[in-house]
């Protein structure tokens, strides 16, 4: 394809969009709205994950040993852990200390605890993770502690963190799935617009065919229309998500209570995903209709 032909296709396509500006605006609005749902889902997922990462990092792990494990095993593990990267401190909590800690936290339970013959509180280690350690590394550390000899359980204060991160992952997946589903919707919208555009320019196209215009010259402008509508819709959806991000950022700045939020705009990879989906959808919609029309000639 020559550069001149490509230039003609692009200018004709843009001109057609400009001529049918009402239809163009309506199509852009529909595509923007559909992709906005996906963009906002991805934005929400990203920000939720970032906020959870910032606020929900577990600080202390409790490492429990089997009943038969000697105290020396806990002491030995504590000694090794103190030299490990990312660990701020390790405390050996013996059974009696564990009981005392419990009673200090829940004094109203002391009568019940006194009734017990044996101390039900097992000895354990309290491993405090350094503040600078990221959430992913904390999860690795937790897993590594669980693999140590004699350890039967590692408890941490990260249950909600994990649940929220899982929720963020689900929202992200839903956003991606919505992006793909809306791409199908955009395909149908662009196909409809192309059909109308073809009908409007029916006489012109009929003349083009009989004067021997190359097929690419006839269908090219419609494909350009599809690409522009698709990409335009996705970029406007991105702009909408950016607007939401800016609004939320301003709100967070004004209200100290919202200071815990870790806000960021839609990442480049998500924008690329949305634009790719919409461009493919726009191209497919236009090609589908143009191909059907070309068969009539």
């Amino acid at each position: 394809m020559s550069l001149r032909l490509l230039r003609m296709m692009v200018s004709d396509g843009l001109l057609a969009l400009l001529r049918g500006r009402g239809l163009t605006a309506a199509a852009l609005l529909i595509i923007t709205l559909t992709f906005s749902v996906s963009a906002l889902a991805l934005l929400a997922a990203g920000n939720l994950a970032a906020t959870v990462e910032l606020n929900g990092r577990p600080g202390v792990f409790r490492v429990y040993f089997g009943e038969e494990a000697p105290d020396s095993e806990a002491v030995e593990l504590a000694r090794r852990l103190r030299h490990r990267d990312g660990i701020a401190s390790v405390t050996v909590v013996r059974a009696g200390q564990a009981r005392d800690d419990f009673l200090a936290a829940f004094p109203e339970m002391s009568a019940g605890v006194d009734l017990l013959v044996d101390n039900p509180f097992p000895p354990h280690l309290e491993v405090t993770v350094a503040d600078a350690v990221a959430s992913a590394r904390r999860r690795e550390l937790r897993a590594a502690l669980g693999d140590e000899e004699g350890v039967v359980a590692v408890l941490g204060d990260d249950l909600w963190t994990r649940r929220l991160l899982e929720l963020a992952r689900l929202i992200r997946r839903a956003g991606l799935a919505a992006g793909l589903a809306f791409a199908l919707a955009a395909t149908l919208v662009v196909a409809g617009v192309t059909r109308l555009s073809l009908a409007t320019r029916r006489d012109e196209i009929a003349v083009m065919w009989v004067v021997g215009a190359p097929r690419a010259f006839i269908s090219g402008p419609f494909v350009v229309e599809g690409v522009v509508l698709g990409a335009g819709g996705a970029l406007l959806a991105w702009a909408a998500s950016w607007g939401v991000f800016r609004g939320a950022s301003m709100l967070a700045e004004e209200h100290p209570l919202l200071g815990f939020l870790a806000l960021a705009p839609l990442p480049a990879s998500s924008v690329l995903f949305l634009v790719s989906c919409s461009v493919v959808a726009g191209t497919a919609g236009a090609l589908l209709t143009v191909h059907q029309a070309a068969r009539a000639h």
Binding site: S2, R4, L5, M8, D203, E204, A206, V207, M208, W209, V210, V211, G212, A213, P214, R215, F217, I218, A294
Partner: protein, 230 residues
């Protein structure tokens, strides 16, 4: 340039437009395709520019069997033809100049070449002063001249015209025919479908006469009847 060999064209519902039509028009030739309305003249032209395919027989244009051409080859062949339609088929939303350059653009010509050629052909048909007029602002004769300008702008090897003087008065018809004569003088093969006996008498050329979809000898008789030689 054009060879019809035993061509029959049958449309849907069994309507037969042409029956076993055979003829040859040599390169640089000039012929009239005559016959009453519905005789099959437009079908012959459509078969030449491959808007239709024959039901039987073969149509060769510039040595190529049109039935065996792919879409891209058909388009390439059409770019070597100029077609003047009965109804002009001008694009109403574009002015005269754009109607002519539009075809040249579709054929991939650069902007400067398009402008030069369009101006040149519009001058030839005497419409350079109406370049910015819309088709609806022109008379029937002027519209037909724009259609001719558009058809010859790309300097085609073959010019097909379907009733180009159908709605024009005699004076205007002669003017149009003179344009065709000048184009033919440059070596372009011309086939004009018409049922205007005046033109056949005035311009003594080969006549292919169709009656009920068949070529008949009446055309030869008409030519023998004579008229003013061009």
């Amino acid at each position: 340039m054009i060879t019809f060999q035993g061509v029959t064209k049958m449309y849907e519902q069994g309507v037969v437009a042409l029956r076993n039509v055979s003829f040859h028009l040599e390169k640089g030739g000039f012929a009239f395709l005559t016959g009453p309305s519905g005789a099959g003249k437009t079908t012959v032209l459509k078969l030449i520019y491959r808007e239709e395919r024959p039901s039987e027989g073969s149509v060769e244009v510039a040595g190529r069997d049109t039935c065996r051409l792919a879409v891209s080859q058909v388009q390439r062949l059409r770019r070597r033809m100029g077609i003047v339609f009965q109804d002009g088929r001008l694009i109403d939303s574009r002015d005269v100049f754009e109607n002519v350059t539009f075809v040249l653009r579709a054929q991939g010509l650069a902007l400067r070449a398009r402008k030069e050629r369009a101006l040149n052909v519009l001058r030839q048909v005497g419409l350079s002063h109406r370049m910015r007029s819309l088709p609806r602002q022109l008379s029937g004769g002027e519209q037909q001249r724009v259609a001719i300008a558009r058809a010859v702008a790309a300097d085609p090897d073959l010019l097909l015209a379907d009733e180009p003087t159908g709605n024009l008065d005699r004076e205007m018809s002669v003017e149009i025919m003179e344009i065709f004569r000048r184009i033919h003088g440059r070596g372009t093969t011309i086939l004009i479908a018409t049922h205007d006996p005046f033109l056949l008498r005035k311009y003594r050329r080969r006549v292919l006469h169709l009656e009920d979809g068949c070529l008949t000898d009446k055309g030869v008789e008409k030519m023998a009847a004579g008229g003013d030689a061009p």
